[in-house]
Amino acid sequence: MSFGSPYLTLPEFQYIRPKSLQEILELLDRHGEEARILAGGVALISFMKERLVAPTYVIDIKALKGFNRIEHTPGKGLSIGPTTTMTEIAAYEPVKQRYGALHDAASLVGDITLRNRATLVGNICEALPWNDGLASLTLFDAQLTLKSLQSERLLRVEEFIKGIMETDLRPDEVITSIRIPEPPENSRSIYVKTTSRSEFSIANIGALVSNPKTPKKRLVRLAYAAAAPTPIRVPEAEEVFRRPGKLSDLMDEAMPIIIEKVAPMTDMHASSEYRTHLIDILTRKVLKELMEGK
């Protein structure tokens, strides 16, 4: 991501490569305000070149064994480490089979050279509203584990993201895992964005549906990012789909609720009207595909 700054060199810093979590936590405890965690570096190195950040210490966490894990435990869900790359997530069979929207999101990040370095945790910490991790993780009720010497916290992704490039990460904390519960039984999910290769995607949607043909058991989840400063779910609109009726009628009823909740903004990338239009057509498209298989 570029802001067009003329700086192309890196500021001076001290590179540290700790071997244990304890060491990371102690470093953060001592130097938190002047330190930044380095995982894939896609965001951090770009941001340092742009002088958006100029830490005194860069703490590379890639030497930690197990930090790059990705593990699915049936009945419990998925655990993803802080240095697991998008390539590793996209290639992981249980993600392909059970967490379709996450597979889509990991596959749609940048290109292969970036996906080989970019991590999902880094994507969340960068906290740009159009980042692919946001809507897909919000869709699955993902939780982040944040550790410091003094504390351990669990936060949902939509609680962690506070605004554009703003998160709830404290200077002495490191994210040690993303935990994603099992998706509902018999569910299928997809993730789409307005353009598959744009740095500035202007509407990202994750959708999940289970039991599409049985209104009483039917469950619909919708998560949005890029459309608003922080990722959100729309429970009031999701409820609409529990009722019987033609899909097009249900969508007509749900859409104003979604638009009101998402409150699309006007910025340099798109007008509020255009975002509203995209949210409308993309939502209808993904729901049609999940409910009717087209």
Partner: protein
């Protein structure tokens, strides 16, 4: 504080003294004289500094040299053997997949990797695969043809 790093570059063990904030790109070009690795946008957008790190294509302008300690780097200099071009290099020549040639090392390395993991790519998959690299001359059509032309030799060599 200067750091000593050990890495294998094109099959050869190297020991290099680097600064904490030095990029892999700069070390490859200026300390190891591998000028096929192009410095162009410096911000992860053009992809012309692509190298294979432990076998996977990455942008060397977004990686610190210090991060690569113990790693293995391949640049296009490492693809030919005893002066004989590799199949993908031959295919680029035979298909005229370049004009000025500035982006060619990066495209050759990336194509080599894409074919090694899937020699049966569709045209769409090839186009998606190379989407992170920019050819300012616009030789994409010929680059896609070269990748298709080299595919059979990767099928023959895969188990």
């Amino acid at each position: 504080m200067p750091l000593e790093i050990n890495l294998k570059v094109n099959g050869k063990d190297e020991k290099v003294i680097v600064k904490d904030n030095e990029l892999l790109l700069d070390v490859l070009r200026d300390k190891l004289q591998l000028k096929s690795v192009k410095a162009s946008c410096w911000r992860g957008e053009c992809g012309l500094c692509t190298v294979l790190l432990n076998g996977a294509p990455v942008k060397s302008c977004l990686i610190l040299a210090a991060e690569v300690e113990g790693g293995e780097v391949t640049t296009v200099e490492g693809l030919s053997k005893d002066g004989v071009l590799s199949p993908i290099q031959k295919a680029f020549v035979e298909n005229g997949a370049l004009q000025c040639g500035f982006c060619t090392p990066a495209f050759v390395l990336l194509s080599h990797h894409l074919l090694a993991i899937n020699p049966d790519m569709s045209e769409e998959e090839i186009r998606e695969g190379i989407s992170g690299l920019i050819c300012r001359c616009g030789a994409y059509k010929q680059i896609v043809s070269a990748i298709k032309a080299a595919a059979p030799s990767y099928k023959a060599s895969s188990p």
